[in-house]
Amino acid sequence: MNKMEETLIPKIGVITDVRIDTPDIKTFRVVTPDGKKAFDHRPGQCAMLSIPGVGEAMFSITSSPTNTEYMEFSIKKCGCVTEWLHQAEVGQQITIRGPYGNPFPVDDVFAGKNLLFIAGGVGLAPLRSVINYCRHYRDRYGDIDIVYGSRSKDDLLDYKEIIEEWSNDAGVNVHLTIDNPQEGWDGHVGFVPNFVKELGFDTNKTAVLCGPPIMIKFTLEGLISLGFDKTQVYTTLELRMKCGVGKCGRCNVGSKYVCKDGPVFRCDELEELPDEY
């Protein structure tokens, strides 16, 4: 057998930078040992990161494909792999394989549209890749609105980038909210779904949703009450995955495999799946 390409066999990656974003989210910069980007990807796609002996897990790639030097992953501490990563230092090697899943349709469906990004908590991680992609090719898209909420000011991911870069872009409107009032916060206070309704967006937009399941559920209801159609709303799913290529059977929901056919789904497509995600 000529050793064929095997998707389950990863590449070695090196963590070259660790940024502490919030008390439980860190952003890791990963390149190959020779300093290159491990592979090309599209906005919304994922990668499998692993630490030998600890485990392997799927993470969305936070950095934009337009960044050709490295990849970034914003990772919340919640299980054994993420806990281990949070203890890792710069220079630590890990393994990486991918890219997996379907990207957001940035070049066809999104082209020329007004975009509305709605994220809650670490749900901004997969959207950051799309947002920065769209900002990079600013002239291809209409207005961009970003609604982002978190538990508190300290839990807002990429706060510096949001304030210093996104807010200053022409035609990009950022709307931030936190769950409870906090000293030193003069922005909006309240949950994302209500905030979306208060902001009352025009329906001439394509919306992209990401966050905890409960937030997605109520925000989607909110958007529909504003007159949005489900075909205008995209979201991403998360299920347990092992292989990443639609074979191991873990992320199978209905006839779809979230790793291969998702994680990006249009909300009307989601509705056709059995209620198991």
Binding site: C80, C243, G249
Partner: protein
């Protein structure tokens, strides 16, 4: 068509095993047939089938994928895939031959699983027609002809002889090797056997089982069927059905720390297990009902939806014989299919 007398079949096995490893069902100490590497003195079992399906040969219960050596912050990855040699699996029944096709559609679809692919490439399948199907057999339901199985070579075993026909290039090469031991013959004995088997197939208790109610696009019809509660009520949540099933292909990837390195291996997994879909933040299939439903929906609806209507079951009857509580796909099909088959 060529034949060899049953008395001389061991000579055929000896000839083949000169150049290739040869596996065939052999009765174990407890009388249960197991695929065993042939060597002098081992006899081809008369059993209808093995408890463990031959999917093992292509998708083993456990296989090492790669190794890691770690030192400080560095990781060294060792690709441990090795060169495979051709091997022969002899005596595979029609249902199990079809199961390879079902597995192929998973493992050989893009991206190809190279571990599976290399085994598949090197495996030569000699199938054998069934002469005495069991009451648990229902391969006919899935359009499988027990009297005329696929495979690189098809064999028929009669009272005194074994007849062979090659179906593929690999099969031709196999026949070439045993040319001196076999003689050209007409197909009258085989035709007679085929007719006899066809009659038995008609009489099997599950002969009327039909898949008409199932298939792709039926998710909404069955997903919320009230019968799932009753069907799954006493399911133990063990993995017997999945592990004896020739088409179940779910797997887990795990790491084993040997103390001087890490072995990453994969092993069979079962959607019936409670932690199959468990994530750090929760589980999307909390009860046994949901897990039970997943297994059967996958075989009867999801798989055909993705594979031009082909069902993920071959009717081998292993789960009928082995489930500790005798709950199985036939009972599920009859119950939720609304007895449309009767």
């Amino acid at each position: 068509m060529r034949k060899v007398s049953l008395d001389s079949i061991n000579k055929v096995f000896a000839k083949i095993s000169e150049s290739n490893k040869l596996y065939l069902p052999v009765d174990g100490s407890d009388g249960v047939a197991v695929y065993t590497e042939w060597s002098e003195g081992k006899e081809w079992s008369n059993a209808l089938n093995t408890v463990r399906s031959p999917k093992d040969f292509f998708f083993p219960q456990m296989e090492n994928l790669m190794e890691f050596k770690t030192s400080g912050k560095n990781i060294e990855l060792v690709d441990i895939r090795d060169e495979k040699e051709d091997f022969v699996i002899f005596g595979v029944r029609a249902c199990d031959v079809r199961s390879f096709d079902i597995l192929d559609r998973v493992f050989l679809s893009d991206p190809v699983d190279s571990f599976y692919a290399s085994r598949r490439e090197h495996g030569i399948i000699v199938s054998v027609a069934c002469s005495k199907p069991s009451e648990t057999c229902f391969c006919k339901t899935f359009g499988i002809d027990a009297a005329n199985p696929d495979g690189d070579v098809t064999a028929w075993k009669t009272e005194d002889s074994v007849y062979f026909v090659a179906n593929t290039e690999k099969g031709e090469a196999f026949m070439k090797k045993i040319e001196d031991l076999t003689e050209e013959c007409d197909d009258s004995a085989v035709t007679a056997q085929k007719e006899r088997i066809a009659k038995i197939m008609e009489k099997l208790p599950l002969a009327d089982l039909s898949t008409d109610a199932f298939g792709g696009g039926k998710t909404d019809t069955f997903f919320n069927a009230p019968e799932w509660d009753e069907l799954s009520q006493t399911c133990l949540g063990c993995g017997t059905c999945t592990f004896v099933c020739p088409t179940c292909q779910c797997y887990d990837i795990k790491d084993f720390n040997t103390g001087n390195g890490v072995i990453r291996y994969r092993c069979w997994d079962s959607c019936m297990y409670s932690e199959f879909t468990k994530m750090a933040h929760g589980n999307n299939r909390l009860s046994q009902k949901e897990r039970f439903r997943q297994r059967f929906m996958h075989k009867l609806v999801y798989y055909p939806e993705n594979n031009e209507g082909i069902f993920g079951c071959v009717g081998c009857g292993r789960c009928l014989a082995k489930c500790p509580i005798s709950m199985n796909i036939v009972k599920v099909m009859k119950k939720i299919g609304g007895n449309k088959s009767e």
